[in-house]
């Protein structure tokens, strides 16, 4: 029964040890998908390469379905899995600032470490930026603490928030993703780029 660490099937130290291997899987898949390339990632926003859309949503759907089925089979207790807290104001503000960073820098934090691992110097510079950005947030925390803590809703699942079942929610996400994949494939034909 999972989560293994909560049920004490594994110790806290083993959990940290396994985190390293989970990270290896994460980094390996990101690099194999092409997420170590900023030009490939940015292609998403110009239509010439929608790999971000395809990998991101296929990944999210696979994980959602996996958790639902594992729960159904009694292999994992969903109530013990961490659900991210929702602070509406800072989630939107943070997302907007991150979106601007994404289109300017061409990476997100995870992909920048992946790019740095294969020698992309632009990824190293992006990482230096990340450190500066987090440091600025820490130093100025008292200035934006109010915004940071506003709009707290607890840890709702989107299914609870809209009062629909989890299965139906996942089905709707899958349908939405199918349309987006179709749009992505269309965009790649419409806005082709020579090899980059």
């Amino acid at each position: 029964m999972g989560p293994l660490v909560v049920y004490e099937v594994i110790t806290e130290n083993t959990n940290l040890f396994l985190a390293f291997f989970i990270g290896i899987g994460f980094g390996f898949v990101l690099e194999q998908a092409g997420f170590s390339s900023s030009r490939k990632l940015a292609g998403m926003f110009y239509g010439y390469d929608t790999v971000v859309l395809k990998v991101f949503f296929t990944g999210a759907i696979t994980a959602m379905l996996g958790l639902l089925f594992f729960s159904l089979f009694g292999w994992v207790d969903l109530s013990l899995i961490y659900v991210n807290e929702t602070f509406v104001h800072s989630a939107i503000l943070g997302g907007v600032v991150m979106g601007a960073g994404f289109i300017m820098g061409g990476f997100c934090p995870g992909t920048s470490f992946c790019g740095a691992a294969i020698g992309k110097i632009d990824a190293w510079v992006f990482i230096i930026g990340l450190f500066i950005g987090v440091f600025i947030f820490g130093e100025g925390y008292s200035l934006w603490e109010d915004v940071y803590k506003a709009g707290f809703l607890g840890s709702p699942r989107i299914s609870e928030y809209f009062g629909i079942s989890e299965g139906l929610t996942v089905l709707l996400v899958i349908i939405a993703a199918a349309f987006m994949f179709w749009g992505g494939e269309w965009a790649e034909k419409k806005f082709p780029r020579e090899d980059y």
Partner: protein, 174 residues
């Protein structure tokens, strides 16, 4: 030395399924999702605590982190996971012959320009990830996997903003 040809990238849908299985494994094993910016935060907190302990003690951002996460900020799940990401990315680079030092940029712009925007983008992403309580990995991807409302909001805000600003930064990329 023979020149090895760079292998093509994996099919994106297959890569997506594998990525989803990694997120699933993290949840089943550790009861949590993936992340990236959290490890940067740990490193910053650890650095400030080491270099300027009195300053760290006085500032809420640093001392509240210590209270919540124990004595050593670097002994955290996300830090070990991010070390793995670097190793995993490196291994993938080896087997696909993609290890090479370079500044990747649109040939229409200079390396210098690319690096300036990479730095600016990194600063914004670092700052935004703190407001968002996680980045594309921790808040958007892993949040959506557990159907977190906040995860869906983060995803929409990140990608929506990048799409809206794409026109203004098009010269960097196309």
């Amino acid at each position: 030395m023979e020149k090895k040809t760079v292998k093509p990238y994996m099919n994106p849908y297959l890569a997506g399924v594998l990525l989803g299985l990694v997120v699933l494994a993290a949840n089943v094993i550790s009861g949590r999702g993936l992340g990236a910016s959290g490890a940067v935060k740990s490193a910053i907190v650890a650095s400030v605590e080491t270099i300027a302990p009195a300053h760290a003690e006085a500032k809420t951002f640093y001392n509240s982190y210590g209270e919540a996460h124990g004595s050593n900020p670097l002994n955290s799940w996300l830090v070990y996971q991010m070390l793995g990401v670097v190793v995993g990315g490196f291994l993938s680079g080896i087997i696909s012959h993609r290890l090479t030092w370079k500044v990747e940029h649109n040939p229409k712009i200079t390396s210098r320009r690319r690096l300036i925007f990479a730095l600016a983008g990194g600063i914004l992403f670092g700052l935004g990830s703190q407001f968002g309580r996680g980045c594309t990995s921790g808040s958007a991807l892993s949040g959506m996997a557990v159907l977190s409302l906040g995860g869906f909001i983060s995803m929409a805000a990140i990608f929506g903003t990048a799409f809206m600003l794409a026109y203004f930064f098009r010269k960097l990329w196309i």
